[in-house]
Symmetry: C2
Subunit: 213 residues, 2 copies
DNA sequence: CATGCAGCAAATGTATACATAGGCCGACGT
DNA sequence: ACGTCGGCCTATGTATACATTTGCTGCATG
């Protein structure tokens, strides 16, 4: 794998899982030595991160990890409701009913995946990720898909602000199942409504459980 | 100005005004010599263009200018309707009524700007650009604003597919005036409807006047 | 005591040399 | 004659040396 790709993947992971906290300065020499690559591929990695909005260049202090506050969460969900609502509606119009029917079945059984044995809820998030991918490919619109994907990057960070307890995840699974069912039934307005409902509940949960640091 | 910035601006301009046609290969040495910068800043410029979607890396042949077809136009407008509709609605909720009232007045007088003396319609597009900026800043949502801006880049390219005759521009000015008026009146649903109407007419115009090459 | 300027230091920005991989062309074999 | 293999050559990927800018510190002056 290319050195710039390695540096990009590593930094991206570390930012998304809050190993690198907002405000952390990513100096070129420092990071290039730490990651074992030279400054050139590291700069390319920093450029890509900046384009995604995960970092910003603080005039004079170099590149720093972007901040993400509760206000950002409101803004993110405002955009998310718009984009994912439209995506769900288009998926209902254009998607393959059997694909989403199967996802619906799986999501109904999802509470079984939320076991205490897997604190990271790997299986659960993998299933939700497959629903996202199915919607992306069903909408047949690369620009919308791209917009949704770039938005989801930030949402991964936000997830850490919320306490994803088993109770909430079980409820969320039911909401996702409702979205899949609506898409499978080919009803755009219902799919959009189910998405809106899910996002509002997610946002409420984040805001209710967030403990200010 | 930085060399990488110069290279980026130049290439971006050339792609947007179709001086660099879709499919054109942007080899690093070739372009760095042409633009008078070394390969390092040029690579940074190419990276930024790729992140915007104006170029893509063609496996083996390096970086090429992205294609943009009539199918892309449909996809672009589908996303545009979603984003700009939401933006207009938010602007109506949160914007300063006087700002949009003044833009409304100016847009009503816009047909006077469309003179035969200025084939590029510089004054007209400047005014429309100010409406876009006013909406962007009124929505108070940096993520949505960013999404709208990244979308507009592609629309600049599309504009060249349409024959922007004086008749269409006069009608478009009236549609823009209606949007500004709806925002000034603080009516989100009206603002969204006016935007939807305008975008549909723009798309119809593009599809009606486009002469396949 | 505060403010501004000058010099220094460390960061980023740029150029270039070098490594490496992949594609193309020619030759050889079937 | 066509296909395949090998070598060369040109492209990109990386490292590093150098230039340049900017922020900070300390001293001097009002």
């Amino acid at each position: 794998m290319r050195a710039s790709e390695r540096a990009y993947q590593t930094l991206r992971e570390e930012i998304l899982d809050w190993s690198l906290l907002p405000g952390t300065v990513l100096a070129e020499v420092e990071q290039s030595e730490r990651l074992g690559v030279s400054r050139t591929p590291l700069r390319e990695a920093l450029g890509r991160l900046g384009a995604e909005g995960l970092t910003r260049t603080a005039r004079g202090r170099g590149v720093v990890v972007s901040d993400i506050s509760l206000e950002d969460v409101d803004e993110l969900f405002e955009l998310r409701e718009t984009l994912e609502g439209k995506a769900a509606a288009l998926a209902a119009e254009r998607g393959d009913s059997t694909v989403f029917g199967e996802l619906h079945e799986e999501l109904l059984a999802a509470p079984g995946l939320i076991s205490e044995a897997d604190p990271a809820r790997h299986d659960y998030y993998e299933l939700v990720g497959r629903l996202d991918e199915a919607i992306d490919s069903a909408i047949s619109n690369s620009y919308l898909a791209q917009a949704v994907r770039s938005l989801r990057v930030h949402l991964v960070r936000v997830r850490r602000l919320a306490a994803d307890d088993a109770t909430r995840l079980t409820a969320a699974a039911a909401e996702h199942a409702a979205i899949a069912e609506a898409i499978a039934s080919g009803n755009p307005r219902l799919a959009e409504a189910a998405t809106t409902l899910h996002l509002h509940r997610s946002l409420s949960h984040i805001k209710a459980t967030h403990t200010p640091r």
